[in-house]
């Protein structure tokens, strides 16, 4: 007979006691349970849940105190906000959503505990064993269809528009450098082959190197933390050097996120904001789009209607107003809908096929302005979060998936969608789908848009309204 393995994380004050109450009352609870006691459901980190599934659990049940009754005032509020997002991420990656359940049981509700436990067990029994933990030969490699490409023809802008903006940018940079307001200007230049690349300008005379065009795809905010803290130390509490940075509207939201996370202080930064007409498809951005290089706009720009940065000190250029509203025409949104329509098994095959190509080069992480951790959780040698089954630094499929999903979860509510990770991926994994799916989830659930303000991500705040939701 199939015996599911179910891990239940029980809060010690309510649910664990509730389970005790059920026992004292001689109520029957299923035997497939393995309870792990935690002080508060707030202690249960999403990484722990992902790890539990990685280790072969068929279901995870998180039980805490009822909202408003938390022994720790509001620890369970944070759990209530994290779990729906984690569940949609795992569902998107191919796990049946029923396998993760969050509920509330108070110390006196033995009967409720027993009912929830039985219900959950029956559900898992009906679903059968989870296929989550896999080896390379256990899944079906599928050829992933690429989404249809939008037939939108972007308007062609006169070169003088960009020349004018380049001039304005150079002038601003020159003044900032010569007045020694900043030590360095981070902007774009053209290399010998005519490709646009990031550059650091230290001398006022060198400002003529700077350019602005529709190939300025890089999110320059990625350099800020290193540049503003030259010792490799984060000096947000002590101040540090000043740097000017050229930003697009999307990049400006990165700066808001970084400011909210104390990466540096606003005073250290001088922001040269550029009005944006969209960025063209670049070489090596998703292989399948290569034919459109230089003509079509990038997928992220197709869905974007921001023309002016949210935060800036100097604004260069007039916001173009003759652009049609392009919202909702990108193929990315369409592909996410397609994926959502699949069965969990199909979806898991798709994602495993994608993740299998990953070589764990971490280019995505390096390109990401939000990935700032001193040593990445998934690269530590304690084998706590990714197992060492395949040896140190092993490239097991489970580990690759854990890395990508874990990174996606960490970016939820923080990722501003610059898609630099996807562009820099040498094997073309569509990482941006994960990020975009979570971003829209955060918007629907918590009305939170990354970088729209200096607000912290919703996971760490309490439920809105005095009493909260139930």
């Amino acid at each position: 007979m199939y015996r599911p393995k179910i891990i239940a994380f029980l809060c010690t004050w309510c649910s664990y006691t509730g389970a005790d109450t059920a026992g004292i009352a001689r109520l029957k609870s299923p035997a497939h349970f393995r309870a792990v006691r935690v002080p508060c459901s707030g202690r249960v980190s999403p990484e722990l849940i992902m790890r539990t599934f990685d280790q072969g659990a068929d279901g995870v049940l998180v039980l805490g105190c009822h909202i408003g009754e938390c022994h720790y005032d509001s620890g369970n509020h944070r759990t209530a906000k994290r779990m729906p997002v984690l569940r949609s991420l795992l569902e998107f990656a191919g796990l049946e959503p029923q396998r993760l359940r969050l509920d509330w049981v108070s110390a006196s509700e033995g009967e409720r505990f027993s009912r929830i436990a039985t219900e959950f067990c029956n559900e898992i029994l009906a679903l059968g064993p989870a296929r989550w933990r896999v080896s390379e030969d256990q899944y079906r490699t599928v050829k992933v269809d690429r989404p249809p490409i939008s037939d939108y023809t972007p308007p062609v802008f006169d070169q003088t528009l960009f020349d004018k903006q380049t001039d304005g940018m150079r002038k601003a940079a020159q003044e900032l450098l010569s007045s020694q307001q900043v030590d360095c200007v981070i902007g774009y230049e053209e290399d010998q082959r005519g490709r646009t690349r990031p550059t650091f300008v230290y001398q006022p005379d060198d400002c003529s190197r700077l350019v602005w065009n529709q190939s300025c795809t890089h999110n320059l905010a990625v350099y800020l933390s290193k540049k503003l803290n030259p010792n490799g130390a984060y000096n947000s509490l002590r101040g540090g050097p000043s740097v000017a940075v050229v930003v697009k509207p999307c990049d400006s939201r990165t700066i808001n996120v970084q400011l909210a996370e104390n990466v540096y202080t606003r005073e250290q930064l001088h922001i040269i904001g550029m009005t944006c007409t969209g960025v063209k498809v670049q070489p090596r951005s998703n292989g399948y789009l290569e034919s459109l290089q230089g003509t079509q706009l990038q997928q992220r720009c197709l869905d974007c209607s921001e023309r002016t940065p949210l935060v800036y000190d100097i604004l260069v250029g007039e916001p173009p107003d003759d652009l049609p509203d392009r919202k909702g025409i990108s193929s990315k949104a369409l592909k996410i809908t397609q994926l959502n329509a699949m069965s969990p098994t199909e979806r898991m095959d798709v994602w495993l096929s994608e993740f299998d190509r990953c070589i764990r080069c971490y280019a995505c992480r390096q390109a990401c302005p939000m990935c700032e951790c001193p040593t990445c959780l998934y690269e530590r040698d304690d084998s706590l979060w990714v197992s060492a089954v395949n040896g140190w630094g092993g490239v097991g499929l489970n580990e690759k998936r854990t890395f990508h999903l874990g990174r996606a979860y960490h970016l939820a509510g923080r990722c501003i969608g610059c898609d630099e990770c996807e562009r820099s991926c040498p094997v073309g994994i569509p990482i941006s789908y994960l990020n975009q799916m979570l971003a829209s989830e955060m918007e629907t659930l918590y009305h939170h848009r990354a970088g729209a303000s200096l607000a912290p991500p919703p996971f760490v705040t309490i439920l809105s309204g005095e009493e909260g939701l139930t």
Binding site: V36, V38, R43, S45, Q55, E466
Partner: protein
């Protein structure tokens, strides 16, 4: 209570609110807002004089609104501390709007209490000329009146006139309460002399107000006026049909009686000599110029110097001085559209003019005169010809035959010059043989020093600084001459007060009186007004307008046109006042208080306390049975709550201890219904514990003192405590009827209350008819319990009460160390239980204080600084604000999280939130949890 209040180690901060709590056990910092009582607790003896004289009645919450108390009140006779409090939300908008700071709500409240003499003296506190402003004011108080947002503002001006007329009629028997009316001001009647002398030029409202204030401060004041009568523009600029002269004269006489010296017929043209007598000795120590704006203007058009061009002020002055002018048969054209032009038009009509035309530049809707008065003038027979400019006065045979006019399009004023476009082809002649110019007034500056040492802000008045001082030190200016044109009497009085303060400061330096301090203004929105009206604080009557004598009885004489309100009208109108500030600021209490404890300018103060432990004993709220319609409370008469019954049967209660029905009779039968709001899934699931016992007590009271048949309808009789069951048995043996049941409905039937219930016992009734129903209401958490819990960082249980740390092992502790619970804020309980818990809480707090040290749970969060990126998500996630970002000493100053071990309670929410798992929880760290989980999966 009294011994608590008197204990030297107990600081009782009543009428206070906790604003914020920070710190941790042993080191709490509590910020308390002490609300302004407006009565000094340390001086008040609780004699109650203030409440005796207070004219404002409000519902008495101690008697559950069954009786009234005053705005100056003590919550209950047993209150500790026993000092009184004034219920005041701030100053009323009417007072705020008035330049003289007139406390309109105050005298309206006194009128409502028929205390007209008190009202008169309350007005005179700020305003020496009530009869003037009861008639000719532009009543900014009414514009600001909150009642205007509902229907129409209170007729404040009419009420003021009513009081001043009443005072004038009763002038011989009017009590002299001058000394009372200046209590609370820096003034005194017959103050000790300061030896300083002040000269005031001009005996108008500004000059006389200032003179009166200065005399009340102990200065010697001499007022000079060029006219043969005092009063300035009030006396010679307003025609008698609007303001009878005898009233003015009476009010000025009162000012003279207080010691102001007035020298009439005296033209001052050497201000220097007022200040010095030529021998280097000061004649006067300060001079106030308040000479007004007594020169009417005219336009330099052709023939405007013809002898039949009269000036408005000239005409009014002659009429007011009693000169008989006969204009019968004259056709008069009055040029101007303001209030002076209206006065002139109506005056010449009374002088016998056969036709009066009033012509002005502005179109009808924009004329500066009051709209209502234009209507009245038209009613009396004045032809209004707006929207035209005057080109020339046409003279034929040395007589004026008319004014040539052109119609204009008017675009407003720019720098007091009109912007107009003449409309071509609209030239016409207004016929008439006398022209009266009333297009504005300006001050006469001819008496100023010729050397320009008092500089003029041409063309508007005399230059003055913030202290109202002119360019010569010691010479001040107030009133129309300061503004350079005619304004309203209230403005002049306001400036009179202000200049008196400035002069006093000039003369006495730092000892001089300071500018008054103002507490915030109350603003009622539409919702507040509705609730005020609903509570019956004000009546819903319409505004009572001022009525006038019929036109035919007034156009040919100078009888006063407007009538005063009758006493009934005044009483009705005064009860329309919404009492925005609650306290009306009539300052009667100030005069009544023998201890000088009252300070109407008191402000909330903030007290910062450093405490080691905190005990919360915030109590409960009575269940409001209006939510439970089956009991009929609020709809059916004689359905009352137990608390209301307690007040009724209390000898100090609203009925003096008599239990009466609404119809005034004693009830013959009473039903007491248990479990109202408790033990009911619709309202509260819990048992409120205290109700059964207090119901039994009420049953005995009814049985013993009311002599009525008593029925207790109960669900379960919960007599759980010591001696409780015995009490129940005693009650039963007295003959109280006990019926088991769950109440279905209470309704009225044939003048009785019919109570029906379910679940009756065999052989017992399931309904009963009684005279009175008492509802044994249950307990509820306080409305702001959520806010308080958040403030102190403690949790609440599902029913909303504060949550103890453990129901058995830590029943008075909370999740926050050092914060304890006592009484019904934790759960419903009766008095013995509350006392027990309070003792336990005190002992727990004391043992902590006595130890001087605390032991902490070892399971707290810790930071693995090497992995911390300092993003601060844990800081946001921590429910106890136990985490802060600091610059690490080891990591080149990198900002990292640090856990305050005293504040951390070990929930691990931070560890769950940290993206890089740099936050861990001792005894529940990631290594342990992952290992446990992996082990569990094997």
């Amino acid at each position: 209570m009294v011994s608590v209040g008197r204990h030297k180690n107990i600081d009782l901060l009543s009428y206070s609110e906790v604003e914020s709590v920070s710190g941790f056990v042993g080191n709490y910092k509590v910020r308390v807002r002490r609300k302004a009582r407006y009565i000094d607790e340390t001086k008040c003896t609780g004699c109650g004089n203030c409440a005796d004289v207070c004219p404002v009645g409000v519902n008495n919450p101690f008697d559950l609104d069954l009786s009234e108390r005053k705005a100056a009140y003590r919550f209950s006779a047993q209150s500790v501390p026993g000092s009184y409090t004034i219920q005041k939300k701030g100053i009323a908008p009417c007072r705020d709007a008035c330049p003289t700071d007139q406390r309109a709500q105050g005298y309206i409240a006194l009128i409502k209490n028929k205390r007209y003499a008190d009202a008169y003296w309350a007005i005179r506190r700020e305003h020496p000329f009530p009869s003037v402003c009861g008639r000719v004011c532009n009543h900014r108080c009414e514009d600001a009146c909150s009642r205007g947002k509902y229907d129409e503002p209170v007729n404040i001006m009419g009420l003021k006139r009513f009081v001043s007329d009443w005072a004038y009629q009763h002038r011989d028997e009017l009590p002299n309460m001058r000394d009372k009316s200046i209590v609370g001001t820096p003034f005194a009647e017959n103050p000790p002399s300061t030896g300083k002398r002040v000269a005031v030029i001009g005996a108008g409202p500004a000059g006389l107000t200032s003179a009166l204030d200065l005399v009340r401060l102990g200065h010697r004041v001499t007022v000079f006026d060029a006219l043969p009568v005092p009063g300035g523009m009030m006396r010679v600029g307003i025609p008698p049909h609007r303001l009878p002269t005898e009233l003015i004269d009476w009010e000025i006489q009162q000012i003279i009686d207080e010691g102001v010296e007035i020298r009439l017929n005296t033209w001052v043209d050497d201000i220097r000599s007022l200040l010095e007598d030529g021998n280097g000795k000061p004649n006067f120590n300060a001079v106030l110029i308040a000479s007004g704006a007594h020169q009417a203007n005219k336009l330099p058009i052709r023939n405007s110097n013809h002898q039949d061009n009269w000036m408005s002020l000239e005409l009014l002055r002659r009429v007011n001085m009693g000169e008989k002018i006969d204009l019968s048969g004259k056709k008069v054209i009055v040029l101007g559209g303001g209030n002076v032009a209206l006065d002139c038009s109506r005056t010449v009509l009374r002088l016998g003019a056969s036709e009066v035309r009033m012509a002005c530049l502005e179109p009808r809707g924009e004329m500066p005169g009051f709209e209502w008065e234009i209507g009245v003038a038209e009613e009396e027979g004045v032809a209004v010809c707006p929207g035209r400019t005057f080109k020339e006065i046409i003279v034929k045979d040395e007589k004026i035959i008319g004014v040539r006019c052109v119609e204009v399009e008017f675009h407003g004023f720019k720098r007091s010059r009109p912007i107009i476009d003449e409309i071509p082809g609209t030239e016409h002649i207004l016929p008439g043989d006398l022209v009266i110019w009333a297009i504005g007034q300006s001050p006469d500056f001819s008496f100023l020093p010729l050397n320009g040492s008092i500089s003029i802000r041409y063309p508007v008045g005399i230059h003055s600084d913030d202290e109202m001082m002119t360019t010569i030190p010691g010479v001040f200016v107030a009133g129309d001459v300061n503004r350079g044109q005619t304004f309203f009497v209230v403005d002049a009085i306001g400036e009179g007060h202000k200049s008196a303060r400035s002069i006093d400061r000039y003369l006495r330096g730092e000892n001089g009186i300071q500018e008054p301090h103002q507490i915030p203004v109350v603003k009622l929105d539409r919702q507040d007004i509705d609730s005020v009206l609903k509570r019956g604080v004000a009546t819903r009557n319409n505004r009572i307008p001022i009525s006038s004598i019929p036109v035919n009885q007034r156009v040919h004489n100078f009888r006063e046109v407007d009538l005063t309100l009758t006493e009934e009208e005044a009483l009705a109108e005064s009860s329309r006042c919404l009492r925005c500030g609650i306290c009306s600021e009539c300052l009667e209490c100030l005069a009544a208080c023998e201890r000088g404890a009252i300070d109407h300018n008191m402000e909330d103060s903030i007290v910062d306390l450093e405490v080691g432990t905190i005990i919360l004993a915030t109590g409960f709220k009575d269940f409001d049975p209006r939510q439970a319609s089956e009991f009929g409370y609020g709809e059916l008469e004689d359905v009352i709550t137990a608390m209301e019954f307690e007040r009724l049967i209390n000898t100090s209660g609203p009925t003096g201890g008599k239990v009466l029905l609404k119809n005034g009779k004693s009830p013959r039968s009473v039903a007491i219904l248990h479990c109202v709001g408790s033990r009911d899934e619709k309202y509260h699931e819990y048992c409120s514990r205290a109700c059964c016992m207090y119901s039994l007590k009420l049953a005995q009271l009814v049985h013993d003192y009311v002599d009525a048949e008593v029925y207790e309808i109960y669900r379960d009789m919960r007599t759980f405590g010591k001696d409780y069951e015995e009490f129940f048995n005693r009650t039963r043996h007295k003959g109280v009827n006990f019926y088991h049941g769950k109440i279905k409905r209470v309704e009225r039937l044939n003048g009785k209350l019919l109570v029906r219930w379910d679940e009756s016992f065999y052989n017992q009734p399931d309904h009963i008819e009684v005279d009175m129903v008492i509802l044994a209401t249950g307990f509820e958490p306080q409305e702001d319990a959520g806010k308080v819990a958040h403030l102190f960082g403690i949790s609440r249980s599902g029913d909303g009460y504060f949550l103890e740390r453990h129901p058995k092992l830590a029943p008075v502790e909370t999740a926050s160390d050092g914060i304890y619970l006592a009484g019904a804020c934790q759960s419903p309980k009766d008095i013995p239980d509350s006392v027990v818990q309070a003792g336990a809480a005190a002992a727990a707090a004391l043992s902590l204080i006595d130890q001087g040290t605390i032991s902490l749970d070892p399971s707290i969060a810790e930071v693995i600084t090497l992995n911390c990126k300092g993003c601060g998500l844990c800081v946001e996630a921590c429910p106890y604000t136990a985490i802060e970002l600091v610059a690490s000493d080891h990591l080149k100053g990198r900002s990292v999280a640090r856990v305050n071990g005293y504040l951390c309670k070990g929930c691990g929410t931070c560890a769950g939130a940290c993206p890089n798992k740099a936050m861990s929880l001792i005894h529940y760290n990631d290594q342990q949890l992952v290992s446990e989980m992996i082990g569990a999966l094997m």
